[in-house]
């Protein structure tokens, strides 16, 4: 297997967008190709993350549609679906295609258009990322599953409501610095703590945003990368693991086994330790999910993850900033786009192009993308070059 690098990154602003699902994908692809200085016909394979095009806007089979709209040739176009990890899976398939020597230039994108559906309809569509037969049928939504998880985490590990709420305060503070974020404003601790309850103990500000948006990156072999971009970003690890989505099947609902497995595999591939990571994009679909992921990835001991945001360690300026983009919480969570948007943010950071939210001297960064209630996890570790 050969080394793979990112030579282009593109994104649309996240939020309520007028463009169609396909057009959003095409815009991000063209942005990434422009950044790589490549014409569309140079791309040899296209991988697209999308969760629920059919359910949200009545359109399936969108990989060749986005490819056509972006001007790609008659190349293999493949859609990946792994709930909220769809984008991470697309990234991993692209990395494998280039690493194996199958292709030299691969385009990866992720897209979702969610805001045209009503909120309760969206809740039901998202609930199908869990085990419908034993969860959605009983009335569980994703906020409800993470409400159950949060309650148990508080009970077992002493995590406080305040620690959980601090994740939202931090990620909104970061999102305010990201011109592509869906919500670019601060929220205060009392606003989060006293917000309208959604699924207790979680309230409105503990939940990620329902957004439209797309992101894309261009990959090529590392040995060719410097000819295409002055600051290529190297993919140091690409790992994926799985578990049952149903909470009732899990021995421990305060950890996600798929995250632990994918994290271990990623650090092993990269030959790096936790201390080497300068910043991370972590899948904060709900505030408590960021805390759990930080524990599962080994950045904090079990039950200590709440200290990250509370004590400022994961804030810009802290020891390891987490979700400088604003995360799913403030940047927004167009489900299929999220995994690729994380890679986009880290690419900017490792090139030193993240402006007001730049982590000084960032050299190693980790992306954690979780599907549903932990049934799929993709972890990527990226490194700056030069």
């Amino acid at each position: 297997m050969r080394g793979v690098s990112i030579i282009g990154a593109g994104i649309t602003p996240f939020g309520v967008r007028e463009e169609s699902l396909v057009a959003l994908g095409a815009i991000a692809c063209k942005d990434a190709l422009g950044d790589a200085g490549l014409t569309p016909e140079r791309i040899e394979a296209f991988f697209l993350g999308n969760f629920a095009g059919q359910a949200f806007v009545g359109q399936n089979h969108i990989a060749p549609m986005v490819a056509h709209a972006a001007g790609l040739g008659a190349i293999p176009c493949t859609r990946l679906e792994g709930a909220c990890a769809s984008g991470g899976l697309a990234m991993r398939q692209g990395v494998l295609a280039v690493a194996s020597g199958q292709v030299d230039f691969a385009l990866i994108a992720g897209v979702e258009k969610m805001t045209s559906a009503e909120t309760d309809e969206t809740a039901s569509i998202l609930a199908a990322a869990g085990d419908v037969a034993v969860e959605a049928s009983v009335g569980s939504t994703f906020p409800a599953l993470f409400g159950l998880i949060a309650r148990r985490h508080m009970y077992e590990h002493g995590t406080t409501r305040e620690e959980i709420a601090h994740v939202a305060v931090k990620n909104h503070a970061h999102g305010k610095l990201n011109p592509n974020a869906h919500m670019q404003k601060d929220v205060t601790l009392p606003q989060v703590m006293d917000a309208k309850p959604v699924a207790e103990p979680l309230g409105l500000f503990d939940c990620s945003l329902i957004s439209d948006g797309a992101a894309a990156v261009v990959l090529c072999p590392t040995q060719m990368a410097s000819a295409h971009h002055e600051k290529p970003v190297e993919v140091l690890a690409s790992a994926q693991a799985s578990d049952s989505p149903a909470l009732s099947d899990k021995r421990d609902i305060t950890s996600f086994y798929a995250t632990q497995k994918a994290g271990e595999e990623a650090f092993s591939q990269a030959g790096l330790s936790r201390e080497d990571v300068d910043l991370a994009e972590i899948h904060d679909c709900f505030t408590v999910a960021e805390i759990i992921a930080l524990e599962d990835l080994g950045f904090f001991a079990k039950g200590e993850g709440g200290r990250g945001a509370l004590e400022g360690m994961t804030k810009l300026g802290g020891a390891m900033p987490v979700n400088t983009s604003g995360g799913l919480k403030a940047k927004g969570h167009p489900v299929g786009a999220t995994g690729v948007a994380q890679i986009h943010e880290l690419t900017l950071q490792l090139r030193g192009e993240a402006r007001a939210r730049q982590v000084p001297g960032a050299e190693v960064a980790l992306a954690h993308n979780l599907g549903g209630s932990g049934a799929t996890c993709a972890v990527h570790i990226l490194g700056a070059t030069g």
């Binding site: 309760d120 309809e121 009983v138 939504t141 309650r151 309208k196 149903a246 009732s248």
Partner: protein, 101 residues
């Protein structure tokens, strides 16, 4: 109360079926006390499409082992707590229902 246990994947069902809905394994019928404890719970205020809110979801750990996601009975006004005792009260359109006791 009877439970239906899949020897293949360990899932527990309260409704009889020939095969496990998850893995297709063969089901074993087992008597159960219907008692369990609350493993976790959440009061749902913004629910799924067509489901009136609020309602309590409880993840129940059955006395005989295994966990089931269920509703707390709508007319049960007691506040659940982790470790609190619950008892099976019946099946509804939304699956199993338990009560605090």
């Amino acid at each position: 109360m009877e439970t239906f246990f899949c020897a293949g994947c360990g899932r527990i069902y309260l409704e009889k079926s020939e095969r496990c809905g998850h893995c297709g394994g063969e089901m074993e019928q087992r008597p159960a006390s219907g008692r369990g404890i609350v493993y976790s719970f959440s009061s749902v205020h913004m629910g799924a499409q067509g489901m009136p809110t609020p309602y309590f979801l409880v993840l129940v750990e059955l006395e005989e082992g295994g966990r089931i996601l269920a509703r707390l009975a709508d007319d049960d006004e007691s506040q659940p707590s982790i470790g609190g005792k619950v008892v099976f009260s019946g099946l509804s359109d939304t699956g199993p229902v338990f009560r605090m006791f």
